[in-house]
């Protein structure tokens, strides 16, 4: 179902006209209210009045996560705190977290765009939707909550974790739709099987997944095991949270809510816009955000646009499912992990060689991360207990930094495969 046909199925030229008007507004808005942006615009020699066509957006400077961290926490806020009604934050895996703010109007917009996600994924007012994303600073839980509520479905705000309880709730409250990460859905199906519960015989019929990349193969597996129609959605806290793009029942690319977010696919090296259909880095300009507007924010996600109109009737442009990252970020059970974080932890520990390897596997349906560490000749303790303690110590330190459990495996010096003198840092055996 199309939630807001007026905007989602707008004629292309009308969308572009709307985008231009809103782009002109947002550039003026940030120029007046965000000193960090004023500085960037001045440096690029761009005045708000220079934006005469949509193509003029390429004159605007990019914004990167580094920019946001430099002015942590509130440097990019365009409204005073008295006008900010909500704060969310990224987990801060690579340093300072990114703190994002929402005005009352932004919260309203967020509910609008997540309502489109919900409706696109098949949610109606007759549904009972279990939101199993974490509720908290993470944008997933609250973001989807308000969209589902706006559609008029019944929300069960169960949040993440306690899988057996999730399944009991699903059974007892007759949940018809599930919102979580795809890997968590698979995990649920395994736990359900152990509990002797057949998820296929439940009233559950739809599932809306986001917050991590997944594959077509995984979709088939989930649909099969849970007996649902599964759709993908995309978002990031810096731009809004969930609700930036979503699949419709065609399950063939994600529609971007272009009336609120101006998307570009750029060459990650040169920053040039790429021709339609080519794969590059996705960047967004928020067109209506008041509290935390972003100009050409580089997502580091790699994707391409799909030009052909969708059979669903929406005219919103589609992006292909995210195909990778421009940096080395790994997503494990919905948690962002950078190899550099692991390296940093290891360098602080005496007796660990600088050589390590991150091995990603899938145990059953859950992503597992192992960190292989070469034990150093210099500190090899003869006592088994000390070696095991050493492993636990590294695991604990990694947990403190990554926020997820990584299994540490001690290996012999020089045993980690080196390619031309440089060790291969990440081995992904998850086999999507």
């Amino acid at each position: 179902m199309i939630w807001n046909a007026e905007y989602e199925s707008m004629k292309r030229e009308d969308i572009r006209e709307l985008q231009l008007r809103r782009l002109q507004w947002i550039v003026k808005w940030v120029n007046e209210r965000v000193p960090a942006y004023k500085k960037k615009l001045d440096k690029a020699g761009v005045k708000p009045s220079d934006i005469k066509t949509l193509e003029d957006s390429t004159k605007l400077p990019f914004t990167t996560k580094d920019d946001l961290m430099e002015d942590y926490p509130f440097g990019f806020f365009a409204l005073p705190m008295s006008k900010v009604v909500r704060i969310h934050s990224t987990s801060g895996t690579t340093g300072d977290p990114v703190v994002v703010g929402y005005s009352r109007g932004d919260i309203n917009t967020w509910a609008e765009v997540t309502a489109r996600v919900a409706a696109g994924g098949g949610v109606t007012e007759d549904d009972v939707i279990q939101v199993s994303f974490g509720y908290g600073l993470f944008t997933g839980g609250f973001g989807m909550h308000y969209g589902v509520e706006r559609v008029g479905a019944t929300v069960i705000p169960v949040s993440a974790g306690n899988t057996e309880r999730q399944i009991m709730i699903m059974q007892n409250l007759k949940t018809t739709g599930l919102i979580c990460t795809p890997s968590y859905a698979l995990h649920m199906s395994e736990v359900a099987a152990k509990m002797g519960v057949d998820m296929r015989s439940m009233p559950l019929r739809i599932a809306l997944f986001g917050a991590e990349p997944w594959s077509e193969g995984m979709r088939k597996e989930i649909e099969e095991r849970l007996g649902v129609m599964a759709t993908d959605n995309y978002g990031l806290s810096e731009i809004m949270g969930p609700g930036v793009a979503f699949e419709c029942e065609q399950k063939n690319g994600l529609h971007i809510s272009e009336d609120h977010f101006l998307p570009e696919v750029i060459d990650p090296e040169t920053g040039e816009q790429l021709p339609m259909g080519e794969t590059g880095e996705l960047a967004f300009t928020t067109l209506t955000k008041e509290a935390f507007p972003m100009i050409r924010y580089r997502t580091k996600d790699l994707t391409s646009f799909i030009a052909e109109p969708c059979e669903c009737g929406r005219t919103l442009i589609r992006m292909a499912r995210v195909q990778g990252r421009t940096d080395d970020m790994l997503i494990i059970r919905g948690v962002n992990v950078f190899p550099s974080q692991i390296e940093h932890v290891l360098t602080e520990i005496e007796g660990v060689e600088p050589q390590y390897q991150i091995v990603l596997t899938r145990e059953g349906t859950m992503d597992q991360i192992e960190v292989w560490v070469e034990v150093s000749q210099a500190v090899f303790p003869d006592a088994m207990r000390k070696l095991v303690e050493f492993e636990r110590d590294i695991e604990n330190r990694l947990y403190n930094v990554l926020g997820l459990h990584a299994k540490v495996k001690l290996v012999e010096p020089n045993s980690i495969e080196r390619t031309a003198g440089k060790a291969k840092r990440v081995v992904d055996r998850r086999g999507n």
């Binding site: 090899f380 303790p381 003869d382 006592a383 088994m384 070696l387 001690l410 012999e412 020089n414 045993s415």
Partner: protein
Amino acid sequence: MTVKQISVFLENRAGRLWELCDVLGKNGINMRALSIGEAADFGIVRMIVNEPDKANTILKGAGFTVAETDVLAVEIPDVPGGLAKVLGALKDKGVNIEYAYAFVARSGDKAIVSMRVDTQADAETVLEVAGFKVLSADDVYNL
């Protein structure tokens, strides 16, 4: 009267112990005793060999992670309760054993226990006062 023990860190994978023994064999190192401790994905092989310093150099050269540790080698009567008597003497003085492994000498009527304790010098005195024979390094290497 401490005996040098060679410990080697080994990954838990097929053939790795063979590689260790193969290197030692090819270099004329003879083992007197061997013990393997294992964790989930690695193990520690502990050995008493005829030439510990040479073994250490050879193994390091072959890329193994090696540690040399002092252990006590105690002669015990090869009869029921023999080891218990030794341990009893240590227990009474509060000496804690980190690990130990036994081997039987060629002559047959005595067994030898190699042990790593928390207070090596104390333990040696305790054992000798209790009437046990703590073997010298040469005794053990030349068994």
